[in-house]
């Protein structure tokens, strides 16, 4: 490291780094002698800190409305056959209910369609997180041959031919429709798609009757069994990437060898440790988004939970506990504004 002057900020940064380093190197030399069996390892983090979702604020209503119409506009696909809404049915969980998506010309993709609900809260977009923003995601989706398969020039031409559309773009952006404004409008719409008032949210807000006894127990199990380690934060997932099959072989259990799409984040970073890693999906509205997993291999919620227990938890879980977990997951279904549907 070259010699350099240190200003306060650098010192501060360094201090943090040093601290982190120290901790790793075992500075906390606690004496464990005499620790009895009753002295347990720290338990799993609780869900107490989870905050309910709230309605998004500060959005441009006109822009959201425009985004919604574009989301439902088949002119965004190459052959005009499908729209975003063809795969993301916001009236039914924000996904398509298929194991894997079917794009233009009936092309079957390798991946399950995730919900668009709350996707704006995710750390990145797509299973492998290759899009760091909604705009980027839309850009890829529009041009992906397996999805809309269109190109921006065509879309711009089509939209500009539509007087009403031009007017609306004029009103919202002060310009003609183009790639950037289309993306911006749809992204705004996606940001509006936050589900609120799920029984769990109401429960968190203090309404103890919002969730049934099974769900409440399921909630405790979710935390105690360790699901919370990965499905965490406000969105119960979506804020980092995790390997599928930490404690077991997902693909063996699935009964099909991993394909390229199964490589997950590895496809983005090329790093060995990212092999089979996927964005931990948000479990909100999960009851509505069957089938499950990136490949759509989990048919029911129970299947998905069992799979999770097997390959992620690596511990025995009883059937009644599975049932309760499912009950909890079912209590995660929220609502969006009627106007957005």
């Amino acid at each position: 490291m070259p010699t350099r002057r240190c200003d306060a900020r650098h010192l501060q940064t360094q201090a943090w780094s040093l601290l982190v380093g120290c901790c790793l190197l075992g500075c906390s030399e606690s004496d464990l002698a005499g620790v009895g069996p009753e002295f347990a390892l720290p338990g799993p983090p609780s869900l107490a800190g989870v905050m309910p979702l709230t309605r998004p604020e500060g959005l441009d209503r006109q822009k959201v409305a425009l985004g919604k119409d574009l989301f439902n506009d088949t002119r965004l696909s190459a052959d005009g056959s499908i729209a975003c809404s063809s795969c993301h049915d916001v009236a039914a969980g924000g996904d398509d209910g298929r194991p894997t998506a079917i794009g233009i010309g009936g092309r079957v993709g390798p991946l399950n369609t995730p919900t668009v609900f709350n996707s704006s809260l995710n750390v990145a977009q797509f299973w492998d997180g290759r899009a760091s923003s909604l705009e980027e995601q839309i850009d890829q989706t529009v041009q992906s041959p397996l999805e809309l398969g269109a190109d921006w020039t065509t879309i711009e031409k089509r939209l500009r031919a539509d007087r009403a559309m031009r007017k609306r773009f004029e009103a919202v952006f002060g310009t003609e429709p183009d790639a950037q404004t289309v993306k911006s409008a749809i992204a705004e719409y996606l940001r509006a798609l936050i589900t609120v008032d799920a029984p769990f949210d109401r429960y968190l807000a203090g309404d103890r009757s919002a969730m049934g006894a099974d769900a409440v127990e399921g909630y405790e199990l979710f935390s105690r069994l360790g699901c919370i380690s990965c499905h965490q934060g406000r969105n119960l997932g979506g804020n980092f990437f995790q390997r599928i099959g930490v404690m077991g072989d997902f693909f063996a259990k699935r009964g099909r060898a991993p394909s390229e799409a199964d490589l997950g984040r590895f496809n983005v970073t090329g790093r060995e440790e990212d092999r089979y890693k996927f964005k931990v999906p948000s479990l909100r509205n999960v009851a509505q988004t069957a089938p499950y997993f990136h490949d759509g291999s989990g048919e029911t919620l129970e299947d998905a939970v069992r799979m999770m227990v097997d390959v992620q938890l690596g511990r025995p879980v009883r059937d009644d506990e599975i049932r309760k977990l499912v009950a909890f997951l079912e209590a995660l279904t929220g609502e969006v504004d009627e106007a957005l549907l």
């Binding site: 490291m1 070259p2 350099r4 200003d7 900020r9 650098h10 501060q12 940064t13 360094q14 943090w16 780094s17 601290l19 982190v20 380093g21 901790c23 790793l24 190197l25 075992g26 906390s28 030399e29 606690s30 464990l32 620790v35 069996p37 002295f39 347990a40 390892l41 720290p42 338990g43 799993p44 983090p45 609780s46 800190g49 989870v50 995710n122 750390v123 760091s132 923003s133 105690r224 069994l225 360790g226 380690s229 990965c230 965490q232 934060g233 406000r234 969105n235 804020n239 980092f240 990437f241 995790q242 390997r243 930490v246 404690m247 440790e273 890693k277 938890l313 690596g314 511990r315 025995p316």
Partner: protein, 596 residues
């Protein structure tokens, strides 16, 4: 003019210089804004915000590591913020973006790896703890050395989780191996297998976590940011210096331009001034020429008019001369018979006077003689002698008067038409007045009563009598016309002609009781072009001629003087008694005088 134009042309050079300087200024201005100062400033700001996000991110990592923050939401948000800040930096200054963006990517990857590994570590640790707790509840734990084995593993696990170092991990591995080799029922349990797996996972993920946190990027990041910051500061300093240089150059050129344009303005103003003067001179000249032309024109016009006038005058004069000659001829012809008629009349008168006593006597005798005288009385009666005696002297008297009048007329005719001619001769003006009155009689007799008031002691005056006659005649005719224009039919006006003598001059005044001359044209009445009336007739022309006669021929004056207190005009001729050589043209003939 042309030299001014040339001078103005020479302004083009300086103008080009000024424009050049202006362009240079614009160039300098543009350059001073192009040194990238703003870019560096913005980039520095963005770099600062990257740095700030980085500090917060390290803090969040720390909190996650020590489980002070239970979820990764904060980290996830900071990741997004850092990416945005980096992209903005790249958009402001791509070079900076090139250095910083890959670093950000690496840092974000490290953070992702951290989250992933930390989650597993935490999960396995929690599950391991739960599994151990569950195993302690199992009856199998009481078989043989089972409790010792479980205790060992638990201790080693606790020790490892606390230390997370190589030694403690080896101890944990050793404890697990010992347990495996013990072959007790406890280790056959599903939970034990799970525990072993999680213990292994813990070791695995602790190592991974350690690798992530030891990754260079955590140390590099601040260094690179610092160095980039310094680079930006340097760039900023350089660009500020450059901008400063450009600005001072701008200032210098600006001042020069200002001075230059001031000089230019002064010069241009001088030229303009010069041009103005040229203009003035030009205008003066044009005015002069115009005036000259106008006066030439005027002169020409007056010459033409004069000539026409002279020609008309000439015609009149010729007529007059012819009339004069005729008149003098007639006068002579009349004079001779008149002479002997008057001789005879005076003879008859004297004879009659001699006969008077004879007739008296005869009448007396006839009355006294009675019968005898009867015959005489009859004769007397028949001849109506008493009537004759009454009438004859009267008839003779009247005849004599008539003859005198004829004599006067003839004399006047002779006098009037006498070709006054060359030079001035002593002349009797009273006689001239009288003859004029007589000549003009026909003109005035139905219009006015004419009275003459002559100075009996009027000396002889050097003059051209016929010209003076003409002048006087004109004045009289003028008076008659004036009266005619104002008096009603049958009403008579009054004309009075008087003569007076003074020390050095004599004065002849012609007065009338006509309307007089309006004040506004008084100074123009002697102007030959003034009248619109027919030439030879009418006030204006006559007055002009009279004026010339008096002024030019005699060195006298003819003036108009309004009559005070009543309407009317008074024209006064003053003729000097001693001739003043300078103003009199003795050779000027009547005609020449009339022509001016």
């Amino acid at each position: 003019m042309t030299s001014a134009a040339k001078r103005m042309g020479s302004v083009k050079g300086p103008l080009a210089i000024a424009i050049g300087m202006l362009l240079l200024m614009v160039f300098l201005l543009v350059m001073s804004n192009r040194t990238g100062q703003r870019t560096f400033e913005l980039a520095k700001q963005q770099l600062d915000s990257v740095e700030a996000v980085n500090v917060r991110m390290d803090g969040a990592l720390f909190m996650s590591l020590f489980e002070l923050q239970i979820d990764f939401d904060l980290l996830a948000r900071l990741q997004a913020e850092m990416r945005t800040a980096g992209e903005e930096l790249a958009s402001v200054l791509p070079e900076s973006g090139q250095t910083v963006l890959p670093l950000i990517e690496r840092k974000l990857e490290a953070v992702e790896a951290f989250k992933s590994n930390q989650a597993i570590f935490r999960n396995s640790r929690a599950i391991a703890g739960q599994l151990i707790a569950e195993l302690w509840q199992r009856p199998e734990v009481r078989v043989g050395e089972s409790d010792r084995i479980l205790f060992d593993v638990e201790r080693a696990m606790l020790d490892f989780v606390g230390r997370r170092d190589a030694e403690s991990s080896q101890r944990l591995v050793a404890a697990l191996e010992r347990a495996a080799s013990a072959r007790v029922p406890l280790t056959e349990l599903e939970e034990w297998h799970a525990l072993v797996e999680h213990a292994e996972t813990l070791i695995d993920y602790t190592n991974r976590l350690g690798a992530v946190l030891a990754s260079e990027v955590f140390y590099q990041f601040p260094v690179v940011l610092y160095e980039e910051g310094r680079r930006l500061a340097q760039g900023l300093a350089v660009s500020v210096a450059k901008a400063g240089l450009y600005r001072s150059l701008l200032f210098v050129v600006g001042v020069l331009l200002l001075a230059f344009s001031a000089a230019m303005v002064i010069r241009v103003r001088r030229y303009l001034h010069m041009m103005e003067r040229y203009n003035d001179v030009l205008e003066d000249r044009v005015r002069e020429r115009t005036e000259q032309l106008a006066s030439v024109n005027e002169a020409l016009r007056s010459e033409i008019a004069e000539r026409e006038h002279v020609e008309a005058q000439l015609r009149i004069a010729q007529k007059l001369e012819a009339i004069g000659q005729l008149a003098s001829g007639i006068a002579h012809e009349i004079n001779t018979p008149t002479q002997y008629v008057s001789d005879n009349v005076s003879f008859l008168s004297s004879v009659w006077r001699d006969l008077e006593p004879v007739l008296d006597d005869y009448e007396r005798i006839a009355r006294e003689e009675g019968e005898k005288g009867k015959r005489s009385r009859e004769l007397l009666e028949r001849a109506n002698v008493s009537f004759v005696r009454e009438e004859v002297p009267r008839a003779l008297e009247q005849a004599a008067a008539g003859l005198r009048q004829i004599g006067a007329i003839v004399a006047a005719m002779r006098n009037f038409s006498h070709p006054g001619g060359i030079g001035l001769q002593e002349g009797n003006l009273n006689a001239a007045i009288e003859s004029t009155v007589i000549v003009a009689r026909n003109q005035w007799k139905h219009v006015a009563e004419l009275t003459v008031d002559l100075d009996p002691n009027l000396p002889l005056v050097p003059c051209n009598l016929s010209a003076v006659n003409q002048a006087l005649l004109n004045l009289v005719v003028n008076a008659v016309h004036a009266i005619e224009s104002s008096k009603r039919e049958g009403e008579l006006g009054r004309i009075r002609i008087s003569s007076r003598s003074f020390d050095d001059h004599v004065e002849i005044a012609v007065e009338d009781d006509g309307p007089g001359v309006p004040a506004e044209i008084q100074d123009r009445i002697f102007d030959p072009f003034f009248t619109t009336k027919e030439i030879g007739k009418g006030t204006g022309q006559g007055l002009a001629i009279s004026h010339r006669i008096v002024h030019k021929m005699h060195g006298g004056t003819l003036t108009y003087e309004p009559v005070r207190g009543r309407p009317g005009a008074r024209f006064v001729i003053r003729l000097p008694l001693a001739r003043r050589e300078s103003s009199i043209e003795p050779q000027a003939s009547y005609l020449e005088a009339a022509a001016g």
